[in-house]
Symmetry: C2
Subunit: 196 residues, 2 copies
């Protein structure tokens, strides 16, 4: 199982945003839409062994958590607008403390990053950070591989404190967009699976 936890600090928490302006009035929902593409698509398949958890912290109704389950997903196309419209639909639901399904394989609930992390063995997770150990040498042999990533703002000091016991891994000499990081992580995992 591959799991990506991503924090969208400015991402809107209402379904009212316009799909034509995801980078602006939607608080960089475009970043999260691209992360969904990176997490799930290979050329001919959806990665069924993958889950993505998006923590949305923007106005007007934070925090909300969206969960996309590769094993269940049905209505997702690779374009940014497709993922954006699924996010929009999920955010149109009145979020409760428990999961509600908005589209097949997509769930929304009222929760914070702390709530999400409480269901995770933090010491087995990996926080993607430019000062971490090179991913190519990191142990990636857990049954459940959990990766924590920031958005264009990274993670705040408070958020980093929540995962101060988490191993840090880096992906190379350049600092990259979150969706690009996911591609590199998948590729490293794909190569390890082949070897094992």
């Amino acid at each position: 199982m591959r799991e990506f936890i991503i924090v969208g600090h400015k991402a809107v928490t209402s379904g009212e945003f316009p799909l034509n302006d995801m980078p602006g009035s939607a608080g960089r929902i475009d970043i999260l839409a691209r992360c969904i593409n990176s997490a799930f698509f290979t050329s001919f398949n959806i990665r069924r062994d993958t889950r993505i958890i998006l923590v949305l912290l923007g106005e007007p109704d934070p925090p909300k958590v969206l969960r996309f389950e590769g094993s269940e997903l049905k209505y997702l196309n690779p374009d940014e607008r497709s993922a954006g419209s699924l996010i929009k639909k999920a955010l149109s639901i009145d979020a409760k403390d428990d999961d509600q399904m908005s589209t097949q394989g997509i769930y929304v609930r009222r929760a914070s990053l702390k709530d999400v992390l409480s269901a995770v063995d933090i010491e087995d997770a990996i926080y993607l950070h430019e000062n971490g150990e090179d991913i190519r040498t990191v142990n990636l042999n857990h049954e459940r591989m959990i990766f924590i990533l920031g958005d264009h703002l990274g993670l705040t000091k408070e958020e980093e404190h929540l995962i101060h016991k988490t191993k840090r891994a880096s992906l190379g000499p350049e600092t990259l967009h979150t969706d690009h990081c996911i591609i590199l992580i998948h590729n490293e995992l794909d190569r390890r699976c082949l070897r094992s």
Copy 2:
């Protein structure tokens, strides 16, 4: 210099397409828009050492070639719609045999894949193909690194014949979308630059 040559077999060759339907009526222009994002963006910069050449073969006016120069680009944002609107603007120009600039760093001309390849030392280029040598062991030391990639349809037999002397490289065990391939190529080159 890093150069990506990508063939869009169905990509429309008129600027009349709707930005809200790039995967459909625009003949998968969304793929090319994502390739532009992958080619140029790191977290804080545009990759100035990169060029992308898009060969568009769809109706109504093929073939056309768009060239994006990282060293000159100014008006590009990471979202798919931003790259799509720059493509649309370039395709609205009446293409001639010589380059015409549509937006700073973006050029359009009437040309085919064969024309593009005639300006390239084919034996120094790399064709991304699932049956190639692993990119991690391929020699990537040329001053001008040229990568040739297909779209969702791959390359045709005739197109492959044009590059039958070109080395093939693969990126891992999974067959990936073209834009995801570009991320992996950049990462490998970034790592090599660090080492050299």
